[in-house]
Symmetry: C2
């Protein structure tokens, strides 16, 4: 019976989860594969000081603090890079491939930034590269796009891809507390990083959308080309207004195939509460795919955590182990397409949506008239004006909704509003996404 040996680098949440699953499910893994998947080496910076509990599950393997010992180990056939970031992780992955090892990674940031180059290197070295764990932890969305619905063409894709943002927005929605309070609490509980920017400013979701778009459309996406807006400006009053409109608010990563090209964006948006996507709460992730032939499909699961992400890593290890045993390196490219094409990103300014504009003003006569005049001059039609009761005339919120309008026209109107002295802050403009 063949045996495939794994070397695992990084024993944080994901690494510990991966080891626990490999240990706990060893019998089922053997039943599925028809051979053993064996841990041969473990590397963690803290192994000499306070070794993580998971390391004790495999007492007889090589344990080291030097990743080079793992990627150069003669027995190791698959290296699991679970370190994260784009510095050491890039060295690990590239060195492993140079040494002829297959690679499984959970690293969205690295794969979004350098994935195409790493894949080229992998093809030349005839090794397998797998990255299921890099997007939406527990949801096997790579397997779905790469093979499950590979026969279809993707018209559009919507994702709730950052669990921290979704947790914060869900808590804000149910408890009415502001972002700062919920974020501080999430940081205390270890749900959010000390520097929350990657999550709440949307960079993490953007890396994930870049990978999903590469998978779905076979294009080489540069994350910084994707339109990006985080959730810092969302407040509890926005949920009150959204609810009155039959909607909720989520940070949505979206990809649309238009006749002119591919439009990619990560931004908070209003979602109709009748849509299943609006029911994704807490730290869950979800992806909605609109296929040209297969219609709507929807995928939902935990976005992070040792268990869900560990399942993705172990499932990848099993897939790669099968490829090695069958002698078929890189049977399916990690990006689904045989080659990634270049593409010209379409500017968000061309997207047409109904819009939600939320204002905070010092109350006085003539405010609606001023705003309506600016909108009328930009040929934008108002749908409704909403105002929740508010005793504070010095900080009065209200909402104007717009009929379908281009982002360019909305931006132009907002620019013209910037000189209005009754505005306490620039208006918040959120698109209202079509429901499914």
């Amino acid at each position: 019976m063949p045996q495939i040996h794994v070397g695992l680098i990084g024993l944080g949440n994901v690494g510990s989860g991966t080891l626990a699953i490999l240990h706990d499910n060893a019998r089922q893994i053997r039943e599925k594969l028809g051979f053993d998947l064996t841990v041969r080496a473990i590397c963690s910076r803290s192994l000499d000081r306070h070794p993580p509990a998971a390391a004790a599950l495999f007492p007889d393997v090589l344990r080291t603090t030097d990743w080079r010992e793992v990627v150069s180990h003669p027995d190791v056939q698959i290296v699991a890079e679970l370190v994260g970031g784009t510095t050491v992780a890039a060295d690990i992955v590239r060195e492993a491939i140079r040494n002829g090892k297959s690679v499984v990674t959970a690293n969205k940031e690295l794969m979004a930034a350098q994935g195409a180059e790493i894949w080229d290197q992998a093809i030349r070295a005839r090794i397998c590269l797998a990255m299921e764990a890099s997007v939406a932890g527990g949801i096997p969305i790579h397997a779905v796009l790469r093979e499950g619905i590979s026969g279809d063409r993707v018209e559009a894709l919507f994702g709730i891809l950052n669990g921290t943002c979704n947790y914060i927005l869900t808590e804000m929605e149910t408890r009415g507390e502001p972002l700062d309070t919920i974020l501080a609490e999430a940081q205390r509980l270890g749900y959010a990083e000390a520097d929350p920017s990657a999550d709440i400013d949307g960079y993490d979701a953007r890396s994930k959308l870049a990978l999903l778009a590469a998978l779905a459309y076979g294009v080489r996406v540069t994350p910084s080309d994707i339109y990006l807006e985080g959730i810092r400006r969302i407040s509890p009053m926005d949920f009150s207004y959204a609810h009155r409109l039959g909607h909720t608010i989520r940070l949505v990563g979206s990809a649309h195939q238009t006749p002119d090209g591919l439009l990619l964006a990560v931004r908070p948006a209003l979602l109709a509460r009748s849509a299943i996507l609006a029911h994704v709460g807490g730290a869950y992730n979800a992806v909605w795919v609109k296929g040209v032939h297969g219609g709507d499909t929807f995928y939902y699961g935990k976005g992070a955590g040792p268990g869900p992400t560990g399942v993705a890593v172990v499932s990848d290890l099993m897939r790669v182990a099968r490829e090695i045993v069958n002698g078929s390196p890189e049977r399916v490219s990690p990006f689904a397409h045989d080659r990634l094409r270049e593409y010209a990103p379409i500017s968000i300014s061309r997207q047409v949506r109904p819009y939600y504009l939320r204002f905070r003003v010092v109350d006085r006569p003539g405010i609606i008239a001023s705003l309506a005049t600016i909108l009328a001059r930009a040929h934008i039609s108002l749908e409704a004006v909403l105002q929740e009761p508010c005793p504070n005339k010095q900080d009065l919120p209200f909402v104007i909704t717009l009929e379908p309008t281009s982002e360019a026209a909305v931006r132009q109107a907002l620019d013209q509003m910037s000189g209005l002295d009754f505005l306490l802050e620039p208006p918040l403009a959120l698109p209202m996404e079509p429901s499914f």
Copy 2:
């Protein structure tokens, strides 16, 4: 560049959809595979009389009414069996394998009844066998269970697997019409078969659950071992009561791994409306998987139709074509496990759930007392008694909900109620499934 040749047998809905997608997406398929997937032969009984429009998309291929010409064609490498049923389809699949052709099938009935034997034959012949289209059309649930989350162990699985039943129940829920009216309408529109038994008595959902359980647990399931109850007894009043209880009603196929073994059932059940599964309406299908490590994941899409099922067939053809080009037959078994184990089915009588009991009675004093006495003797605790206003004292419906009780105890109590002369029909007992 290699080229893989497909022979397609059966040009009904699924066959026509498959040809349309192969034609429409040819460029993308080539970009993904790195080679061409070419239709070489088409067989349909009606080709000589009124050839389906889809056949005209491929004018230069062999067109025949004799499936033997396709499965014996020297160029054909993959046979797509899209005939359905278990007679001719079984001959086609077995003959194709004998001739060394790989097989893609959409046939849940055949694969649920004879899948393990067909797979044995496929292994010996070193060909590939794929069956994504056999369950939940547009949802790539086979890819998910076979590879996407293969590293996890499945604790439980819930599925809405029959689109016709889900359509009927959703229409009953929203319009308040009885089953017969909606069914007749669905038959007129071509959504339901002239003989609706396979759908509404649950046989179709049972075949699909058998396949999903084989995939998820690696066991050899005999469909007739699965507890089965159809939807004929559900009426609009059941939705009124279910709504009052914060629930809806769906036909649910479920699999539970218990310490004593695997419990499989297809039956109508109450689902909390707070659960995402309760939002699956119309002809959609969905599968909820509870993983030991990865937690809850959820998959949703259209259950049938030429487009969604065609996508599943084409995705399978692409997967099998890759295996052939890479020379790796049966890299992953269609049932995910290297070998299927035998298993002892656990009787439904051991399942413990809160229950919904709905009665229709001729009203008179002492009814609740009689029923409560029988339940008390069986040591069953009542949760609530509900009654909607009803002017007809000769046919009065009401509902009793029970605290968690074993199915055996409920059945015993129902037996003892069978002699009560005020009952117009045997009580309807539905479990209330836990929400996620």
